[in-house]
Amino acid sequence: MATAAATSKTPVLTPEIRKEIEAYLPRYPTKQAVTLPALHIVNDHLRCVPMGAIPEIAEILELSPAQVYDTLTFYGFFKHTPCGKVRAWVCRSISCALRGGEEVLSAMSDKLGVRPGETTEDGRVTLEFGECLGVCDFAPAMLAGDEVYKNMSVDQVSHVVSQLQSQADRAAD
């Protein structure tokens, strides 16, 4: 599968993405160290790391596709198919759970009509559970894109969902 993608006509990585990845090379003594930055760059652009991107990243970093794939799959973070325009992590760890985090997560799930890990049909929002997001001072909390939603409650979930949707509409494609 990976080989087929590598030999197909249109590369998955645009020249812009390639350039961004290559800009990281001087920061590290090995090319392999650019794996995680490369995966992030691709993910930032495509909202996923498609299988076809793996041999192309490998080629830039002079690795085998298997090495890139190994690293990618270790982090549950990278998906092969695009996430929603906004990816929202609702914290389920202790300090949030004590203040209703789990209830907020299931209310979000009900309201959006997806389970954690899934994307709404309109492609706007991916819901995820998160482990401690490091904002326990505002528990229960959610990280959506670069924004932290603080002191959430089940009552606010409808409002939060519409905020997420407009955040998605503002996000570039």
Partner: protein, 451 residues
């Protein structure tokens, strides 16, 4: 306790506290200038050693001693890794420092690099901290523009580059050798030690891994000296305790009126933190139990809240240690079953899977807790949990890293300190089966899915 003048948080409430101009207006980078002008790397290490600074990342290892482990006269390169993966549940002090006062973290990093002769520093920032990442990058850019990073810093012979490295939502990247593997572009599988990173770390070169709060202490030690630093905190309590000196950032969250990150002299008690800084337990309720320093450290009962939150205190009541000094408060309505289920689920999710005892022990303990919670528990399960907790970890010597010890401690403390409550719950919710001794089916098989 007389009012304590904040040291690490002195800047955070100033407008634009994250900018170079505000940081410098408050005296920032004077320690760097002092070091570059008149101190040798060895003198810096000696001063940090003499101050008794111990790592704030969880293990409490004396920082100057760690720096001293680097091979002498090494041709280089030597690497510095700043561990900003901060993922221990209930912990957010590094986030506050990096978002509100990134230059303090950078100045500490620069001096640490000067002392250790590191020429490249990587700050490994967890993915979930986009604001910290941006603020740090802005701060780094400001420093390059002012020749405070790069070559011949401020006209000296000191060269240093600092790069940010973004994590990808994995707790294990906070373990120092997991971090190094992740930095190298591999799966974050912790390494077997020795060799320790000081000898063979990132890219097989000598490497120091330090927490942002640890290095943030360094400029103050340089500016104000050893005596001042040692006047804060708790002296050694015995031959195996090097003392707990300096200011400390304490996080308090959960069922308190004022969750937040507060600075205090090392060694305030857990009860003081809850009552004074945390504003007491919410809703007029009583505290039932608390996590002393991130969930890995175990559990304190109400009676144990008078322990000092210093490096020696939590150990006196069977906890693993001070950890990240992040206290989570649980009021009288919290069930011990829910608490332990939450902890076990976290570690099952975060185990890297490399060592069988950890991978299996964490995932089975989650399944057992899930079954107990769902009303299918047996008394026997408590013994199984204890058995798991005593057999996984670097303490019993069965695993590569300390994640497994962190998974063991909540189980160990909860079952030992709250056994009666567990038994009541199990008897009440499973009257027909609580004495069952034979193997029982996993809940997945009887249709009660976990998550």
């Amino acid at each position: 306790m007389p009012d304590f003048e904040p040291v690490l948080l002195a800047n955070v409430n100033k407008p634009d506290s994250h900018t170079l101009s505000v940081y410098e207006a408050g005296g920032g980078y004077s320690a760097l200038r002092k070091v570059l002008k008149g101190m040798s790397p060895t003198e810096v290490i000696d001063q940090v050693k003499a101050a008794g600074l111990r790592g704030r990342g969880g293990a409490g290892f004396p920082t100057g001693v760690k720096w001293g482990f680097l091979p002498p006269n090494h041709p280089g390169p030597i690497y510095m890794c700043i561990n900003a993966d901060e993922s221990e549940p209930a912990t957010f002090n590094n986030r506050i420092l990096m978002e509100q006062d990134p230059h303090q973290v950078l100045e500490g990093t620069m001096i640490a690099c000067y002392a250790t002769k590191a020429t490249t520093a990587y700050i490994y920032v967890r993915y979930e901290y986009p604001t910290a990442y941006k603020r740090l990058q802005m701060a780094i850019d400001e420093c390059y523009a002012k020749n405070m990073l790069g070559n011949k810093i401020l006209g000296s012979d000191f060269n240093l580059n600092i790069y940010l490295h973004r994590g990808a939502a994995a707790y294990i990247c906070g373990e120092e050798t997991g971090l190094i593997e992740s930095l190298e572009g591999k799966r974050a599988w912790p390494r077997i030690k020795p060799p320790f990173p000081a000898v063979e770390g990132a890219f097989r070169k000598p490497t120091v891994v330090n927490n942002p709060e640890t290095v943030a202490n360094v400029p103050h030690i340089i500016n104000r000296g050893v005596d001042w630093y040692k006047s804060i905190g708790v002296p050694s309590t015995g031959p195996r305790d090097p003392g707990s000196y300096g200011p400390k950032l304490y996080c308090v969250s959960g069922h308190v009126n004022k969750p937040g990150c507060y600075e205090a002299p090392m060694g305030i008690t857990c009860r003081e933190l809850i009552e004074n800084q945390g504003g007491g337990v919410w809703k007029g309720r009583k505290v039932k139990m608390a996590v002393p320093g991130g969930i890995s450290m175990g559990l304190l009962t109400e009676k144990e809240l008078d322990i000092k939150l210093d490096f020696a205190g939590p150990g006196t009541v069977g906890c693993l240690g001070l950890g990240t000094a992040a206290v989570t408060v649980m009021d009288e309505t919290v069930s011990i079953v829910d608490y332990l289920h939450n902890c076990c689920r976290f570690f099952a999710h975060e185990s890297c899977g490399q060592c069988t005892p950890c991978r299996e022990g964490t995932s089975w303990s989650e399944r057992i807790m899930h079954r107990i919670k769902a009303g299918k528990g047996r008394f026997k399960d408590l013994d199984i949990l204890l058995n798991i907790s005593e057999s996984i970890g670097i303490m019993p010597g069965t695993t590569i890293c300390g994640l497994a010890d962190g998974a063991a401690w909540p189980m160990k403390n909860a079952v030992k300190k709250f056994r009666g409550e567990f038994e009541d719950y199990i008897r009440r919710t499973n009257p027909a089966g609580f004495m069952e001794e034979h193997a029982v089916e996993a809940l997945e098989l009887v249709g009660i899915a976990g998550h």
